[in-house]
Amino acid sequence: MLNGLLGKKLGMTQVFVEDGNCIPVTVIETASCVVCDKKTQERDGYQAVQLGFGEIRKKRVKKAQAKSFEKNQVPARRVLREFRCEEAGDVQIGQTADAGIFEPGEFLNITGTTKGRGFAGVIKRHGFHGAPGSRGSHEIFRGGGSVGMKAWPGRVLKGKKMPGHYGNTQCTVLNLQVVKVEKEKNLLLVRGATPGPNGGLLILRKTKRAKKG
């Protein structure tokens, strides 16, 4: 049994659910997901399923990778990711994995790469409040204030929140509920927001600790 999938974030919208309420959803496309390889206890020391996602021209595939695709007789894929899987007996190499492995109501952990924000100040990056806009304050409005004490300790404490690069990091959102599965179109509707821009890669895993209630 597969316990995860790779997908592409298509965007967000809203749907009306049975009780008539309107909820926000992210639309995820999971087409072209293929089992490219399997890791076994005997050969690799751990059990996992390797999934490939996203079509790619043959010419663009690295030679070493092309060889591995050829060996397993699977179509070339742009992205490869492994999913730890203890009960992978029924998973065949070359089999396509579609959105049908998830059911509505199930909870997923979704991993993606957040939008990069470049070099950001402390207000955007750490949620500082900034300085007052009036009452004698001048020149400094979005600064972070003092960075530490004087002669003792004579240095800036570790972990001090300062401006710097923000975003473009891996982020996992836990317990997002599956609202709808459209198997034919390979679409997944998940309640709430997922990390990253539209068109970004998402790793969907069944959650081990589902939210109660």
Partner: protein, 136 residues
């Protein structure tokens, strides 16, 4: 057409009753109380229509026991049933937020004449096929 638009289209009602800003409408809303469901009617003046597609909403304002009450309804919500137009109002703005500052007679919208109603209807009919062509 992209997948997100397609999903939005399936969420939309096939037929939305035609009404304009300034009209007095009766909105039939299903309300759940425990296990029971009943229909509540909210009557007032439409003071705004906002957003587009599946997100479209309209704001209805009424004076209840001397207090102004406004309610925002999503047009495509399954909870919003019938929308009856009780009176066609003649207004010259798309948003009637100025009604909030008015009291009594000044806050009434004038009724549209028959010719005006017919004109807006014709415009709606003429606009509809264009809209359909543009969206398909």
């Amino acid at each position: 057409m992209n997948a997100v638009d397609e999903i939005e289209r399936t969420q939309m009602k096939k037929k939305v009753p035609s009404f304009c800003v300034g009209d007095t409408v009766k909105v039939h809303m299903t309300i759940k109380e425990g296990d029971k469901e009943r229909v509540q009617v909210f009557e007032g003046v439409v003071i705004a229509r906002k957003h587009g597609g599946v997100r479209e909403t309209f704001t209805v304002r009424k004076i209840s026991f001397g207090v102004g009450v406004e309610r925002v309804f999503p047009i495509h919500s399954p909870k919003v049933g019938k929308i009856e137009v009780a009176r066609h109002g003649r207004v010259r703005r798309a948003k009637l937020y100025y009604l909030r500052d008015l009291k009594g007679k000044a806050s009434k919208t004038k009724e549209k004449s028959r010719q005006q109603i017919q004109k807006t209807r014709q415009e709606a009919v003429a606009g509809a096929p264009e809209k359909a062509a543009a969206s398909s």
